[in-house]
Amino acid sequence: EDKVVQSPLSLVVHEGDTVTLNCSYEVTNFRSLLWYKQEKKAPTFLFMLTSSGIEKKSGRLSSILDKKELFSILNITATQTGDSAIYLCAAGGSNYKLTFGKGTLLTVNP
């Protein structure tokens, strides 16, 4: 069965800190790794990675995929209180399905 494991499950930091969130996966016929941010309502799409070693960047957020070691990391630099959310990692195979991890709850204190 496909599996996605995220760590840590929760993290508390101060504004300005840099954080690294981890995601490992075991997915049959892996094709893509996705990151989402969930605040109070729906998950919002951040990144999709399909190629190993190529960093995707959006402002203070960046992510990279290692297909050999089957993991991805999401980095957030100079964190702000607005970054507080659950960050979800999902992996997709050669079908239509995404398997989600349990998420990392990030709390950024002022």
Binding site: A42, L88, S94, N95, Y96, F100, G103
Partner: protein, 116 residues
């Protein structure tokens, strides 16, 4: 302009009742999904339709029945509601056209179902 919308946003009902949740997307996507998110925030796929055809049907009780009248709409009907059905139900849509990969999915605002 809402991309993926769901109605209702909140649903409170008693055990044994039957209820429906509706989802619509205006993104022109071919594939739509239903997810259940439990109290621990774990998102689990329930069903998926591609262009009105059921393509994912996870281990879900028969009381749950999806229906896609066209590729922009996906509804979820639940019969004989139980306490354990209480959760947030998310609809999502994806530009994915055929098997061979998994594209990004865009989520609706969710429907919080409470069964008393």
């Amino acid at each position: 302009d809402t991309a993926v919308s769901q109605t209702p946003k909140y649903l409170v009902t008693q055990m044994g009742n039957d209820k429906s949740i509706k989802c619509e997307q205006n993104l022109g996507h071919d594939t739509m999904y239903w997810y259940k998110q439990d109290s621990k925030k774990f998102l689990k796929i329930m069903f998926s339709y591609n262009n009105k055809e059921l393509i994912i049907n996870e281990t879900v009780p028969n009381r749950f029945s999806p229906k896609s009248p066209d590729k922009a709409h996906l509804n979820l009907h639940i019969n004989s509601l139980e306490l354990g059905d209480s959760a947030v139900y998310f609809c999502a849509s994806s530009p994915q056209r055929g098997a061979g990969g998994s594209r990004e999915q865009y989520f609706g605002p969710g429907t919080r179902l409470t069964v008393t």
